[in-house]
């Protein structure tokens, strides 16, 4: 393997329009181009759910608490109605061996009928729209991906830059922390942090209950689940980026233009912002796009383990619910969530590969 070519002062990227070139290359690679559009669509859908038009609180017959918990999707039809594009003859017959779906009695008295969009992907055990569950699941998935990434990228970048730029004892300590954190398998650390957070939230909640009514308002349980998941993921996933950034900064700080900037007496923060940061943004972008896949998938795993999202509509919950439904022949909720995750992750993977190829060919092998 050839050593990467030694970069010289000519390589200072300031003033080079990398963004324009990136867009041009993106346009030339159809798979990556389509992926970018798909990711953008998911983001738009996720953002749209915040609009009042899509806010279906008004249709809810639930309590205030339910609204707060984000149980925003209403009962639109009879329980386990298949997707509207599947003919009713093709709907699976009731399996006599399995108990009838619970909750059927609760909603049997009045069967509200949603519009065609509500019934497009069928309904779940309570007769709620699978379509809207997928749509609102997008919001949770993207929230997790974006906030956990922000947390993890910030920690990783800051520690990586500090270690690489200052070296010495700072570097030694950060390396030790990185080694320590990466020695605990991340799922274990994530679970441990969730465990501790849940216990703390529980104590906080009982404190709040003890407090006189009205003085404090306990945060709804659903939000705290999300908080725990995001915090745990963000705090455990930064080590990879930290290592990459440290390595890159180590080489950048020896380059001529940084040495020159130091010789001219530029102060450290200015060097970091003007010369170091622009040179590691590509690492952050690549890590973000490929890391988002992990976050989306981890939500499903954590939720399945019963430690993820419990009170908000999420793709993980749909798949978790599908554990038994699938055996009953109810496939649409499972399929809808799986396809939603699959398409997003595929697009993110392809986009991440593209970004890695274009922005940093050294990160991949000979291909």
């Amino acid at each position: 393997m050839d050593a990467p070519a030694k970069n010289t002062a000519l390589d200072d990227p300031i003033g080079r329009s990398r963004f324009g070139e990136l867009m041009l290359r993106l346009y030339r690679r159809p798979a990556a181009f389509i992926s970018a559009i798909i990711v953008a669509l998911y983001v738009i859908v996720g953002l749209l759910t915040f609009l009042p038009v899509f806010d279906r609180h008004a249709d809810l017959d639930g309590s205030d608490q339910l609204k707060k918990d984000g149980l925003i999707w209403q009962i639109v039809g009879k329980e386990y109605a298949p997707p509207s594009f599947v003919s009713s003859a093709a709907a699976p017959p009731e399996d006599p061996e399995l108990p009838p779906p619970t909750g059927a009695a609760a909603s049997a008295e009045r069967v509200p009928h949603g519009g065609p969009i509500d019934l497009l992907l069928g309904t779940d055990i309570l007769g709620r729209s699978v379509f809207w569950h997928v749509i609102y699941g997008t919001r949770v998935a993207l929230t997790i991906a974006v906030i956990a990434s922000a947390l993890s990228l910030t920690i990783g970048t800051v520690l990586g830059v500090l270690a690489g730029y200052f070296g010495g004892i700072v570097d030694a300590i950060i390396i030790w922390v990185v080694n320590t954190v990466s020695s605990v398998p991340w799922i274990l650390l994530t679970l441990a942090i969730i465990f501790v957070l849940r216990a703390s939230f529980q104590v906080a909640k009982s404190d709040a209950q003890d407090a006189p009514q009205g003085t404090t308002k306990a945060a709804p349980a659903g939000d705290r689940d999300l908080e725990a998941v995001i915090l745990a993921m963000g705090l455990t996933s930064w080590v990879g980026l930290c290592r990459l950034v440290r390595g890159e900064v180590l080489s950048i700080r020896e380059r001529d233009y940084v040495v020159a900037a130091r010789a001219m007496g530029l102060d450290t923060p200015r060097i970091l912002v003007r010369h170091i940061l622009p040179n590691i943004t590509h690492l952050i972008i690549i890590t973000f796009s490929l890391g988002a896949v992990d976050f989306v998938q981890a939500e499903v795993v954590l939720t399945l383990l019963g430690l993820g999202i419990s009170a908000k509509p999420s793709w993980g919950r749909m798949i978790d619910d599908a554990k038994l439904e699938l055996l009953r022949g109810v496939w649409w909720q499972f399929a809808a969530a799986t396809i939603a995750i699959f398409v997003l992750c595929l697009a993110l993977n392809l986009l991440g590969d593209f970004l890695r190829d274009v922005l940093d060919p050294r990160l991949r092998g000979a291909d």
Binding site: M1, W176, V177, N179, T180, V181, S183, V184, P185, W186, I187, L188, L189, L191, A192, I193, I194, F195, V196, R198, A199, S200, Q202, V203, S206, D207, D210, V293, Q297, V300, V301, L304, L305, G306, L307, W315, G316, I319, D320, A322, K323, L326, L327, F334, A337, T338, I341, F342, C345, L346, N349, L350, R364, G365, A366, D367
Partner: protein, 323 residues
């Protein structure tokens, strides 16, 4: 080379200490008092005291300073920190049995699933990567690359569910879930989890090894070997494979935590009474002693595995002994 190994072993000590500190910070410093969590806020101090005594929570966290001052060295170090550091875990509050006993009873079941998964997966990944290298740019290469990316994108849980539904519910090839008694019975139950787990984990590794094999295959030393009269097959299996083992080792270390995740998910979905299920249950039961012990123990085991692979490098790559 000896110096390298010794240095590497010495490096492990601060890491293990760090892991201990991290675990301790989480479970002793950050975690709310388990006595309050378990007994409630309004429990009487006397009940809490006996609870703490029962689970060893009455011991000082770091060092018993009063004992240290009076010269009782042994007693001074009888703290929760040093007990955990030396693997003297307490009792599980839920099962009321020693943690180590619980864990050691369950761990073999998890290993019986994840061991075969690891071996089969690695073998298949390497085999496919080596095989398709001679088909570069043609359809088998394309199909494998495509399947790898598809496999990396599909949620692992969905894949497990599909496998359970297809092979268990529809085809009745395997039991859907559960665990048996006795070796052959257990194999029946283990087959499906192993199958879906191998299938689900193939993608990333295959793609990585494909890249690595292709990179090596086009290197100059392969051309040299071929010019000596070495066959394509031998060049692949002798020259390339030996060089590929270096990135394989690296990748294996990073893939190990994935097995742990597999254990957690598989054991829950297939109702296998292994250590993964034990951990998840312990979290539900707020069984802090158990969670902490499992976290610390597995982290230390992982540290040691990393150490072992680092030492294996010296066998695989002669250049390592230089630095």
């Amino acid at each position: 080379m000896g110096a390298y190994i010794i240095r590497r072993i010495l490096w492990t000590i601060p890491t293990v200490l760090g892991v201990m500190l991290l675990t301790f910070a989480l479970f002793v410093v950050a975690l709310p008092d388990p006595a309050i969590t378990a007994l409630g806020k309004h429990s009487s101090p006397a009940v809490r005291k006996s609870y703490r005594e029962k689970y060893g929570l009455d011991k000082p966290a770091w060092l018993d300073f009063t004992a240290l001052k009076s010269g009782q060295i042994r007693k001074a170090f009888d703290s929760r920190f040093f007990r955990t550091l030396t693997f003297q875990f307490g009792k599980s509050s839920h099962y009321n049995r020693p943690v180590s006993e619980l864990f050691l009873a369950k761990a073999p079941i998890s290993l019986a699933i994840q061991g075969p998964v690891f071996v089969i997966e690695l073998g298949l990944q390497l085999l496919i990567a080596l095989y398709i290298s001679s088909w570069r740019g043609r359809w088998p290469d394309f199909v494998v690359t495509l399947l790898s990316v598809l496999g990396m994108s599909i949620p692992i849980v969905s894949l497990y569910l599909l496998g359970q539904w297809l092979f268990g519910a529809r085809l009745h090839w395997f039991p859907i879930a559960g665990w048996g008694v006795g070796f052959f019975n257990c194999i029946q139950y283990a087959a499906l989890p192993i199958l879906v787990s191998v299938f689900g984990g193939m993608g990333g590794g295959t793609r990585f090894y494909r890249t690595v094999v292709l990179e090596q295959l086009h290197s100059d030393y392969v051309r040299t070997a071929r010019s000596k009269g070495v066959s394509r097959h031998d060049a692949l299996l002798v020259h390339v494979l030996r060089n590929v083992l270096i990135p394989v080792l690296t990748n294996t270390v990073t893939a190990l935590p994935g097995l742990l995740m597999g254990a957690l998910v598989l054991e829950r979905m297939f109702q296998i009474p292994g250590a993964g299920g034990l951990l998840v249950e312990a979290i539900f039961n707020s069984d802090s002693a158990l969670v902490m012990a499992v976290t610390y123990f597995l982290a230390v085991v992982y540290c040691l595995l990393v150490l072992v692979t680092d030492i294996l490098y010296t066998l695989v790559d002669p250049r390592v002994s230089l630095y």
